[in-house]
Symmetry: C2
Subunit: 127 residues, 2 copies
Amino acid sequence: MTKARKAILEALKASVQPVTAMMLAKEPSLSYDQATVYRNLHYLEELGMAQSFILHCSEHGTERYYSYRGADSGIHHHWFHCEKCHRFIDLGSCGYDEQMHAWEKKWDFTITDHTFFLTGICSACKA
Amino acid sequence: MTKARKAILEALKASVQPVTAMMLAKEPSLSYDQATVYRNLHYLEELGMAQSFILHCSEHGTERYYSYRGADSGIHHHWFHCEKCHRFIDLGSCGYDEQMHAWEKKWDFTITDHTFFLTGICSACKA
DNA sequence: GGAAAATTTGCGAATGACTTGCAAATTTGT
DNA sequence: ACAAATTTGCAAGTCATTCGCAAATTTTCC
């Protein structure tokens, strides 16, 4: 595993919030080329050490957000996104496995991935 | 309501599958400028007559897909996307209202929108 | 440990979805 | 039908993300 790879993985692991490739590329302590960051995030996601979702918000546009995912403990996280302060709240795993299974049976398709997240106004921003 | 607007809304209503702005812009029977198509899709979504979601698939990249939504009957649809044949299956409304409410209570945030869809291989493509 | 093979990096340029400024055309209000 | 308001087409711009390629790093094998 290369230096860049390791550093990016550590940054992901250390971050409480999901981050974009650009955020990591601009992080002074990393200072890897954006292409390198993008490539390594892809790589880490393929390995199953990172997970991502695409979010569009009026203020930041459309971007892919990455978060850490333990190699084995592989919990698929879902998030709430506050449109005001742009912070994320980790909702944990969605627990829809049963529902998914029901759908697979009903329609006879095979689910390889699911996307789920919420947007709204967080507690702090409501006040 | 302008001619373009009406035509685009009709196209949406007529389409069984969610469509992208580009698909509509390239549709010979419509032949409106892409800017016009994009602007009107935004407009229709604001009105509540269209709904959309952003999907990334390896073959077609990242694009926003629109579908018709009756002005009042406003059912929020969710979809399964087949990665092979690129067709969508309408799953109807997700029926997670209770779960959402539970989350709102637990975290004290207000949900204004939710994104949910599945990807995988459809029945036909498995065979 | 070191040289060759394989992979990765940085840079700059390209891609592709989507947006925007602006003048001309259409629609609306009266 | 006329003036005001909105929308359209066009061309150029924006922005996240990707790609080609030569140089640098990592891995492999002896």
